[in-house]
């Protein structure tokens, strides 16, 4: 699988100050594939995504994206190669309108990735279309979650790192998120998704990577993990 993988993470370590958070995480995502990175609170899911994106200062290990070594690049260079990042806490620019938030994310289209426009994103998230000029700070949590994904898609990425898209949202919005992920996957986008909710991951992911205490404990097809009561108990049950 690593042969034609889009993103390969090999022996990734990450530190916050003296705290050693990731102990050699390895995983890969193929083009067009949705991989769920699962694990309990504090397992290191978000840190893995942040380290891939170059947002953890102290990181070691090899990360390649589309054949290029990105382990030492700065975040904006990584983003420009076609790696999108949707943070867990959304981080909408509160003083900017919906359209302005999207403008910040805009990058030129690339031949090997689906090209998004503001209008196409409004088709994907119709709620946003009705509030083009509303400041991000005056949107509901669900609307902000849609905007943060749309903002990242404006960069026309080949792969997005999606951190807990279902967290804290109403069931109706969670369904919309699952639909949106299915849609972008159909467009050919790869997704690496952090998720605690097994039902949600089961809905959207092809494969699962389970981490605990900063290292990978299990890798396999999502369907197999759903079916494997023992593995679920061992890795995910609270």
């Amino acid at each position: 699988m690593t042969g034609d993988a889009l993103l390969v993470v090999d022996d990734l370590h990450a530190f916050y100050g003296r705290a050693h958070i990731l102990h050699g995480v390895s995983l890969s995502v193929a083009a067009g594939e949705v991989v769920a990175l699962m694990g309990r609170n504090g397992a290191g899911k978000s840190t893995t995504l942040r380290a891939i994106m170059g947002l953890v200062e102290d990181r070691r290990g090899r990360i390649t994206f589309a054949g290029q070594d990105i382990s030492r690049l700065s975040p904006h260079r990584i983003a420009r190669l076609g790696l999108g990042y949707v943070p867990e806490d959304r981080r909408i620019f509160a003083g900017l309108t919906v359209l302005e938030n999207l403008e910040v994310g805009r990058r030129p289209p690339r031949p090997d990735a689906p090209a998004w426009t503001v209008e196409r994103l409004f088709d994907l998230f119709p709620n946003l279309a009705e509030m083009r000029n509303r400041p991000g700070g005056r949107m509901s949590g669900g609307e902000q979650q849609m905007l943060t994904i749309a903002r990242t898609l404006m960069g026309n990425p080949r792969l997005i790192l999606l951190d807990e898209p279902s967290e804290g949202l109403a069931p109706r919005i969670v369904e919309m998120m699952a639909d949106a992920i299915a849609t972008v996957k159909r467009e050919g986008l790869a997704v690496l998704l952090c998720e605690q909710s097994l039902p949600f991951a089961g809905l959207v992911a092809d494969r699962a990577v389970v981490i605990a205490l900063g290292s990978v404990r299990h890798t396999g097809w999502m369907g197999d993990l759903m079916a494997d009561e023992g593995a679920r108990q061992a890795y995910l049950a609270v």
Binding site: Y16, G17, M53, L55, E57, S74, P75, H76, A79, R80, Y85, P87, R91, F93, A94, G95, L96, E100, N101, E103, V104, G105, R106, R107, R151, T152, G155
Partner: protein, 611 residues
């Protein structure tokens, strides 16, 4: 009535140039989080460059070309400062950038002196705008009207730039959340250079436009940077609209203050700032700052190993023996250095463990010095009463000011401390009957058993060592742990039942008391007290000493005080352009030791011990 109108219009013209400078400062802070102390220097560069071009090319083209040249020169130099200096410091503690820009202030002062000489320059008047028009019976200079129109025009232009261009939207995004902006593929380093260019361009434009209104001189940098800070803080950091409002307010205050309260003109602006900050802690239009992402706690402060204690004891013993070999002059220098060590150590308690940056620590140093001198002059009592009075009065002052200051944080807190210091300075400067005003209070000698230079030196040594040891104990006592907990995660500390503000207030008062003791010692060491004890340059000296040594170490401020005093007073006064040399040294030190001198040493040592 028409007279008031003329005054009002003059206030508006003043507000325009204030707004230009302050909006640049605000934009720079908003995006880069850098407190650009050198902003006044770019204002001065703009004024000098414009004046020089206008005087060299004596025509209308020369005047307006000079305005453009002044603004461009400031903008380009601002971009150069970002590329060459600030860029290397974005990962350093915020205050290091402040220190670096302070180095730039010194270098620019001497560069301007070298280029254009010490004499004030008088620029030409604006061609075509030299006349006056009569408005409601009052003559109003046409140039003032021009400025009045220009302010809102620039404001509108900035609004369009920030709301109608992609660049402006990116700048606003970066102002809110730099990390997220980078993760979306925006190259911040280009953005930052451009922002420094724009901000300094505005400062230079403000300076260039001043040339028909007054002389161009070497003091205009500090005068302007303090005013611009006031405007930015009153308006709300990072808010251009707030800067516009605040500039109008301050401009009118200056125009009318002189009519209504001539005797407290100097205080008025700072009183208004203090009132605004107490009522609206983030300024008129400011928003609470977003907590720094992934903000890490400061490095853990640990007691030095025992051998360091023995070395310190040996050092003190050696210092105690100094009178055996040193002459009177050397003893005076040592006395002054020791006093600065205590001053720096007291500021360190505030900045390091307390996490509160003060731009006005001179307030307590000066209050202590004045306490000693006033007891001496008005009560006729000597050192026995004057010296104990110093920390007491300083602590009382800090107790009052601290109650207000600890309600704020970050730059706002720093500016409120500056406001208190400036208020005290104004009182000392303008209340001539009691304080002697600018002439100060002279003849404050220790007398009695401490009349001899060596005896006073030993007294100073004893008190400074006692003070430093006491401060160290405070840091490592449960009080100090609590203080650090409150600094690193105020919410968690509150959740544990700690009253963070109360602890900060106590630390503020204690720091004031120790600074006051240093001030009292200084009064008797020099035999005189002047308003300069209270002024901003004394506060800045303290900041430089603490930052130079390293905020996160206990020995840092001590080393910083020794190095700084050694450099400034004893070596560089004999060197031409000592300011530029000192500024250059500060810049080099900041670049070489982004953690401070002692911070760098202990870091290196700590690393080797770990491996």
């Amino acid at each position: 009535m028409s007279f008031l109108l003329a005054q009002f219009l003059s206030g508006l013209a003043q507000a325009s140039s204030l707004f230009l400078v302050a909006s640049g400062l605000s934009i720079i802070f908003g995006v880069t989080r850098i407190v650009n102390f050198a902003h006044g220097s770019f204002y001065m560069i703009g004024a000098y460059a414009a004046c020089w071009v206008a005087l060299t090319v004596d025509s209308a083209a020369g005047f307006w070309g000079g305005i453009a040249a002044g603004a461009l020169a400031a903008g380009i130099l601002g971009a150069v400062m970002e590329r060459g200096l600030l860029r290397r410091l974005y990962r350093s503690p915020e205050l290091f950038q402040l220190l670096a820009t302070f180095g730039v202030v010194l270098v620019v002062q001497d560069a301007v002196l070298a280029l254009w000489g010490p004499e004030d320059l008088l620029g030409p008047r604006a061609p075509g705008l030299t006349g006056r028009v009569r408005l409601w019976g009052q003559p109003v200079p046409l140039y003032d009207l021009f400025l009045m129109v220009l302010g809102p025009v620039v404001f509108a232009g900035l609004w369009l730039l920030f709301h109608k261009t992609r660049w402006g939207v990116l700048v606003r995004a970066a102002t809110e959340d730099r990390e997220m902006t980078a993760a979306l593929g925006v190259n911040q380093s280009h953005l930052f250079t451009a922002v420094l260019f724009l901000g300094c361009l505005l400062a230079g434009l403000g300076g260039a436009l001043q040339i028909p209104r007054g002389s161009v001189n070497l003091h205009m940098d500090m005068a302007m940077v303090v005013e611009a800070f006031v405007v930015v803080v009153v308006g709300g950091l990072g808010s251009v609209g707030g800067a516009f409002l605040a500039a109008l307010l301050i401009g009118q205050l200056q125009a009318f203050g002189i009519l209504i309260f001539p005797e407290i003109t100097l205080v008025l602006v700072f009183l208004v700032m203090a009132v605004v900050l107490v009522l609206r802690p983030y300024g008129l239009l400011g928003r609470p700052p977003v907590e720094a992402r992934g903000g890490e706690a400061g490095p853990v402060l640990r007691p030095a190993p025992p051998w360091a204690g023995w070395m310190a004891a040996g050092g003190v013993a050696a210092l105690a023996c100094a009178p055996l070999v040193a002459g009177d002059y050397a003893l005076l220098v040592l006395t002054e250095t020791l006093i600065l060590v205590l001053f720096a150590a007291s500021l360190h308690l505030l900045m390091g463990p307390g996490g509160m940056v003060s731009f006005g620590h001179a307030a307590w140093f000066g209050l202590g010095a004045y306490a000693a001198a006033l007891v001496f002059r008005h009560l006729g009592l000597g050192l026995a009463v004057g010296l104990p009075a110093a920390p007491l009065l300083a602590a009382a002052g800090a107790l009052v000011a601290g109650w207000f200051c600890v309600r704020l944080s970050g730059v706002y807190l720093a500016m409120l401390t500056l406001a208190f210091a400036q208020i005290l300075w104004s009182v000392a400067f303008q209340w001539t009957a009691v304080t002697g005003g600018d002439n100060g209070i002279l003849g404050v000698w220790p007398g009695g058993p401490f009349a001899a230079r060596w005896a006073y030196y030993e007294l100073t040594l004893a008190l400074v060592v006692a003070g430093v040891v006491a401060l160290r104990r405070v840091v490592f006592a449960p009080f100090g742990w609590t203080l650090r907990a409150g600094r690193d995660s105020p919410l968690r500390a509150e959740a544990l039942g700690i009253d963070v503000r109360r602890h900060q207030w106590m630390a503020f008062t204690a720091a004031g008391a120790f600074a006051g003791l240093a001030g009292g010692l200084d009064a008797f060491a020099k035999g005189s007290v002047f308003p300069t004890h209270l002024d901003i340059s004394t506060s800045v000296d303290g900041l430089v000493m603490v930052l130079l040594g390293g905020v996160q170490t206990l020995a840092g401020p001590l080393v910083g005080a020794v190095v700084f005093h050694g450099l400034e007073t004893e070596m560089l006064r004999h060197v031409p352009y000592w300011r530029a040399v000192l500024g250059g040294i500060i810049i080099v030190l900041v670049l070489a030791f982004p953690q401070g001198i002692v911070g760098a040493l202990s870091h290196r040592f700590g690393r080797s011990r770990d491996s």
